[in-house]
């Protein structure tokens, strides 16, 4: 496949890509540290993945194979349009198979299939600053990062337990990267937090509106914050996926009618489809 005429490879001009790559290199060198970068206008609105798309454009090459997911699904509007965007402007091959992809851009999920060395996972980040709810001043949050002054972050978790009896934060759960920087993992469910720890793939985070890039290099410890007597836990369900029968993946609740009917299905569509195929093959 060749790219559309009139566009530079992967939409962004080479100078911009170089600038973003410099930011990415710095981010990889200091795991969890938010590197400012000159975010560009992209042909999609803020909040739809302008940060992720710029990071992807900067790291993707002609030989790469791209997968884009939105809430775990390959077939939602955001995923389809970003995948088509790169298919047109970069002419790269695309896939829905997690294992076959070299670059995966994601919104709100980490694929269920374990990632491997050489893969790059690009997250779309709405608000990169984990301390923002606590401290509205940017000068102060930067100082807190510089001094690793993160104790007050537990106030949020304390508040959860005081109100709900458990840590009720379910997504965008704060993590400590490499024992140093506090990081917002973008709005992934906390179910996915353990997958970030010592992951063999390179994880890049791009926030377009806030103009920040940060990264978790391969095999970096990522620890979710918790209390000694209220340890970190991931979500669990008492149902299995209604489509594939899986019990080990993150489930979405889907309302099926207006009489209270609802089912639970895997949020990772590729994972669900693979399991269903395997079940079918076994039956045949």
């Amino acid at each position: 496949m060749t790219s559309a005429p009139g566009y530079n490879f992967a939409y962004l001009d080479e100078q911009t890509k170089r600038m973003i790559r410099r930011a990415i290199l710095k981010a990889v060198a200091i795991p969890g540290y938010q590197v400012p970068f000159g975010s560009r206008e992209m042909p999609l609105p803020y909040g739809w993945g302008t940060g992720g798309i710029q990071v992807t454009a900067a790291v993707i090459g002609p030989e790469d194979r791209l997968k884009v997911i939105d809430q775990g699904a390959d077939d939602t509007t955001n995923a389809v349009s970003i995948r088509r965007f790169f298919a047109r402007t970069a002419g790269v091959a695309t896939t829905e198979r997690t294992a076959a992809a070299t670059v995966i851009q994601t919104r709100h999920r980490i694929p269920e299939t374990p990632l491997s060395e050489g893969q790059i996972l690009v997250y779309q980040v709405p608000i990169p600053e984990p301390l923002r709810w606590l401290e509205p001043r940017e000068t102060e949050t930067r100082k807190m990062h510089a001094l690793a002054d993160y104790g007050a972050m537990h106030v949020k978790l304390y508040e959860d337990i005081a109100r709900f009896g458990r840590i009720a934060t379910t997504y965008d759960y704060p993590v400590l990267v490499n024992g140093r920087y506090l990081m917002r993992p973008s709005p992934i469910p906390k179910f996915d937090n353990p997958k970030m720890n010592m992951n063999p793939a390179l994880q890049l985070f791009g926030a377009g509106r806030e103009k920040r890039i940060y990264a978790v290099p391969p095999y970096t410890p990522v620890k979710s914050l918790d209390f000694e007597d209220h340890p970190f836990e991931i979500q669990s369900w008492d149902q299995a996926c209604a489509l594939c029968g899986g019990t080990d993946s993150f489930l979405d609740e889907v309302v099926t009618d207006d009489r209270g009917g609802r089912i639970y299905v895997c949020s990772d569509t590729h994972h669900c489809a693979t399991r269903r195929d395997a079940v079918q093959e076994a039956a045949e």
Partner: protein
Amino acid sequence: MNPLLTVSGLTRMYGNRVGCRDVSFELWPGGVMGIVGESGSGKSTLLSCLSARLEPTAGRVLYDTREDGPVDIYAMGEPRRRMLMRTDWGIVHQNPRDGLRMGVSAGANVGERLMAVGARHYGEIRAQADDWLRKVEIDGERIDDLPLTFSGGMLQRLQIARNLVTHPRLVFMDEPTGGLDVSVQARLLDLLRRLVTDLGLAAIIVTHDLAVARLLAHRLMVMRRGEVVETGLTDQVLDDPHHPYTQLLVSSVLQP
């Protein structure tokens, strides 16, 4: 034994205008120093300079740290100063809304300092918060209520609990009873006096209310136009004022 706080030649200028000029004094452990004066006399500027929130133009503030003895608070590194501010020191603001986190519960407000210095056991943090709420006479049942639902006097007491939870040795108070009605003031003063005595706290209290100063402070500094005009034991200064300004200040108090 060293003085807890040694202040020498402390000056803070705002351009050509004087915030406070050439203030020197010593504060010993367990001592309570009152700073009185009319509004605009530099009391709050002085307090900010003393409590490491406003860098002075000249002069030094030495604090007797537990580990290394007297250290200049503006020469030590930022992390150390922050640590000091949330362990060894307490700062009680005039408006409790400045010193509290209004969006989180009373318990979290009290526990924040503990978590900031590394407490990671929810049950223990909560038990301590509960204990301190009781000590400042706030009903333990209100531990999960937001400070927004508290009255002015309760907010001020909550702020005090939040500051004392790490067992500080030195507390800075800026008009702790400002904006409270007299009966609440009286109870707060009783509470403060008891806590200061029981815990052996040293305190620096800024106030324009001479009655508060007489009740709480051992020593008094009278400020006018940024300079200390008179200093001495509280009773001595209030009963036998020497400086004309102090005489004016003392005679201005209404006798009911």
